[in-house]
Symmetry: C2
Subunit: 195 residues, 2 copies
Amino acid sequence: MTVNKRHAAMEENREKLIAAGRAAFAEHGYAGASMDELTAAAGLTRGALYHNFGDKKGLLAAVVHRIDSDMASRAKAIGAAHADPWAGLLAEGAAYIRMALDPEVQRIVLLDGPAILGDPSKWPSQDSCLHATQQAIEELMASGVVKRVDAEAAARLLSGAALNAALYVAASDDPEATLPKTVEAFSALASGLLA
Amino acid sequence: MTVNKRHAAMEENREKLIAAGRAAFAEHGYAGASMDELTAAAGLTRGALYHNFGDKKGLLAAVVHRIDSDMASRAKAIGAAHADPWAGLLAEGAAYIRMALDPEVQRIVLLDGPAILGDPSKWPSQDSCLHATQQAIEELMASGVVKRVDAEAAARLLSGAALNAALYVAASDDPEATLPKTVEAFSALASGLLA
DNA sequence: TCAAATCGCATACGATATGTATGTCAATGG
DNA sequence: CCATTGACATACATATCGTATGCGATTTGA
């Protein structure tokens, strides 16, 4: 009976590798992360890695998917906390900007992710963040709050602006001061979608 | 007199290397481009490359700077062709989206550039595109056409949205159909900056 | 004009990292 | 209880970057 002891151990090792990969990619970047060090830190060898994820890109994809899911669920919660759907969308956007200030998110999801895995809209994870934004926009369009434009394009523009802005904020000399100004400009820009 | 034959040859070789790097980075990506092949294609060896550009990143920086300059001058011309400054800004944005459809621009400037060199706003080239947009926005703010928000942030958001949108358009299944819808959504979004 | 010094570039070398092929041992299941 | 599977470790082959060294053409100074 016992639900396969081997499978349980495998899942556990996968978790270890994803965690180690997340740390290594965040600290050294994708190119600079050594698979030997990474796997050793997880108490394993490269054998486990190649068996579980195929290659280095495979591990990155798994790590990106994990972080992306975390971000989407957090953003969704924030958006849902607002009674007014439009305010919810703005809050969601601001939340993305703030989450993207995390160096881990920047390095892995915003910089190395697209460079190595290609455009987020084609990721197997479907880019949960993008998907959530698009859904919010579609609902707002249905209720006549926002202009009728292509929802997918609008979501992509909005999310692109937000995430890109976060990179800018983080790279600025005084992020604390730049953040509110950027969020304000973001709100102004987003209002262009209103009907 | 003869203005140094050595210097002339050196400039010529730099041009060859930049051209070869541009082609190699575009085709294989930064990580996948071999310096041996690249320099051989230029009729040189890695010795010339390391002497002129320091390291692989140095060559990428030079190539990015070159492409960025090209883009900025083209966009500026397009913006200046419009009598109405606001229409000029929109046209500039649309031009960026269209230029960013070029696979070379995508891979080198939008994907590998930020991943390897860091945020564009910190590039030595100052990211000419960004700078031009910011200037246009400042002038429109001075003449009361657009809202008074942080011009640098607004420029970054607008440019981020445009360039990011281009990645999305290019990755879409039917770019020809996606492009006009995206440009339309871009115009709507940008109108949020109007006073 | 000639000789010495410069310097741009080629060559040779070492280090390191990825991906694959092979081996091993515990868990499974008939 | 034994044969088989398969998850993981080990060993190997290959490729690439960056540096250290060497060469030769061009420049410079007298």
